[in-house]
Symmetry: C2
Subunit: 429 residues, 2 copies
Amino acid sequence: MRLSRYFLPVLKETPAEAQIVSHQLMLRAGMIQQLSAGIYNWLPLGYNVLRKVEAIVHDEMQRAGAIPILMPTIQPADLWRESGRYEDYGKEMLRIKDRHERDMLYGPTNEENVTDIFRRHVQSFKQLPLNLYHIQWKFRDEVRPRFGVMRGREFLMKDAYSFDVDQAAAEAAYDNMFVAYLKTFKRMGLTAIPMRAETGPIGGNLSHEFQILASTGESAVYFDAAFEDVDFSAETFDVEVLKSLYAAADDKHDAAACPVPPERLKSGRGIEVGHIFYFGTKYAEPMDAAVIGPDGETRPVHMGSYGIGVSRLVGALIEANHDEKGIVWPESVAPFRVGLVDLRPDDATAHGLAMELYGKLEKAGIETLLDDREERAGAKFATMELIGLPWQVTVGPRGAKAGKVELKSRRSGETVELGPDALLQRLGA
Amino acid sequence: MRLSRYFLPVLKETPAEAQIVSHQLMLRAGMIQQLSAGIYNWLPLGYNVLRKVEAIVHDEMQRAGAIPILMPTIQPADLWRESGRYEDYGKEMLRIKDRHERDMLYGPTNEENVTDIFRRHVQSFKQLPLNLYHIQWKFRDEVRPRFGVMRGREFLMKDAYSFDVDQAAAEAAYDNMFVAYLKTFKRMGLTAIPMRAETGPIGGNLSHEFQILASTGESAVYFDAAFEDVDFSAETFDVEVLKSLYAAADDKHDAAACPVPPERLKSGRGIEVGHIFYFGTKYAEPMDAAVIGPDGETRPVHMGSYGIGVSRLVGALIEANHDEKGIVWPESVAPFRVGLVDLRPDDATAHGLAMELYGKLEKAGIETLLDDREERAGAKFATMELIGLPWQVTVGPRGAKAGKVELKSRRSGETVELGPDALLQRLGA
């Protein structure tokens, strides 16, 4: 993409309304723009990251055997009356009357809807196990939306729902998602700490929330150092071991009673990005979602639900990956992999070399943002640092004449001068 | 994907509520399920097609230079008060009050929102031309939603918005989208007929709607046969020629006055799947979206908007591609490219060969649905015909013993017996 033809409205000043660093940087880097309290437009750079995060979540869900569907944003209130949650859910639920005065709502979650899909089509244990998921916009009408996309009102969530014939099978489905979550966050370059959690308005018996580590995280967490050593490339995991590793939030952690030896106990700050639940027959019973078991008896299906805050992750990723100059994207979620600075578009040699490299990188499928604007070098470098693409390539007149360009790693800050062919090889083109 | 682990709730009977063939087939093939009037769940098979259609639209938009963003579904009413459309838009607009009693709405379209993005960030003609688009769910509260996803209330739309310094540049942007639309529909195996149209509630000076041809289409159209001969693989098109080709809906067509010689005049039935508008400064003026021109004078920006009904296209594709047995997907939008029938999972030789082929097809990246269910052959064939995958491969005991499988084209019905290696080669594996 040529920046001269792109839409990257970076801001020079930090907007006063943004209190946390991810919100500040997303506004400054032209990733988002507020439309209304807690409701954001995703501008091109932000949209690219959102799609990258979404693609990783899709991929790991499908690897784990979950099947993609898409449920609508607007739901009829009647379904929620069946489960009993229509009245329970407070003012966070956005309630709507349609033109025929029917009660509708903007889904804050989808347990009722997916249970309805299930009961209309599944009758036998032979059709199980089943895990259906979608990535869809949700709305929760927070009193005080804040922190940009970290606590918005309209937000993108992945929610998966498992259906099993009994508790044992349902717990295996839960464990499968538990591992899939750790792999998902790892692919984004994040360390996720799973913690036993309250089940809240979703209900149920068993729940973990997943917090990713970031120095600017919202809450303190204590955890077994072994979390950082898990080999996620392994084919299988001992999920019981993973689940037994110590992890606790600040308010639950008791140094004196902690079972982890001090040398293995680590602490950090965390941001919640996922939450999983096993809630048995909580929805199946009132909504009459039942299957015939191997014994010929009909029984309510056992369910779990599994959420990941997809839009929230974009903010969380920045909380975990930034420095004083701007964002430092992990490669797997970077909006572009390479930022190519054509330092002097008016210099024929440098400009020619920059365009040649740009053509070759694009042809090799390496997503490249070419800064071909007529701007001062300082402004170009500042933009590149701010938007945090993993690799910066600078082509200037002096280097070009000598057949050299500069490659810089945004994360390490290391720079190296090298020839065009060596550069392309280094970047995998 | 193994059908035994998939979720494909096909129906044996045609549901009485479905009046048109695409709605009937989408329900029967387990592609969708109604949640509420005009609001649908997309089940796995339907979801796959929706994503294929969406991917083609994304790709052609970006090839045409449009830049992806994502605007939210919920908008503040105030923006629509600025343009004057809040009162104009009737009951089709879903109006919502949030917990603080602020007037919000579920966007039926996004002219106001995108104009707001523009005016906050663009000041100079040097930042033009600009075309921002998104693919997002919309809501229009139809009195009588019907025909499944063809006229739903919640629907997925691609809407693009162009910004230019003057009318001439804006018309060039319009022509660019005009050609992109023809290419987009062509890639889906559809013939699209562009027709001059009224501008309706969007407003403006110039408009075309795009109807795709289907024998079951909603309205009669007359058009120049030359539309069918356009070479869409060409680098450039003479858009003036394309725009001048005769096309008219039934109510506007006058055989006596028609400028096309009878031998070149064709007629068919059409389904509207796209609509483009040039509306000048209709939104820019009341909303104060202005740029400084080359002459230093500030002027309102010239805009156009360009819609494609993404979810509607799934229905339209079926209207244009079906027979008495079911759907006949064009390859580019098929939910899977190959349907592999393991005719007798209990026969070791046949089952072994089916699994071997399945593994090789998947490894080659060829999306394959393996019917590994314990079902009668008749039921398996009927399902394959119904869901309409382009290529059916049948592996049975007799053939497997002789080292042969059967390949059938869903569209032509032609079958051929061939060896496993020849089959894989034929399918590009």
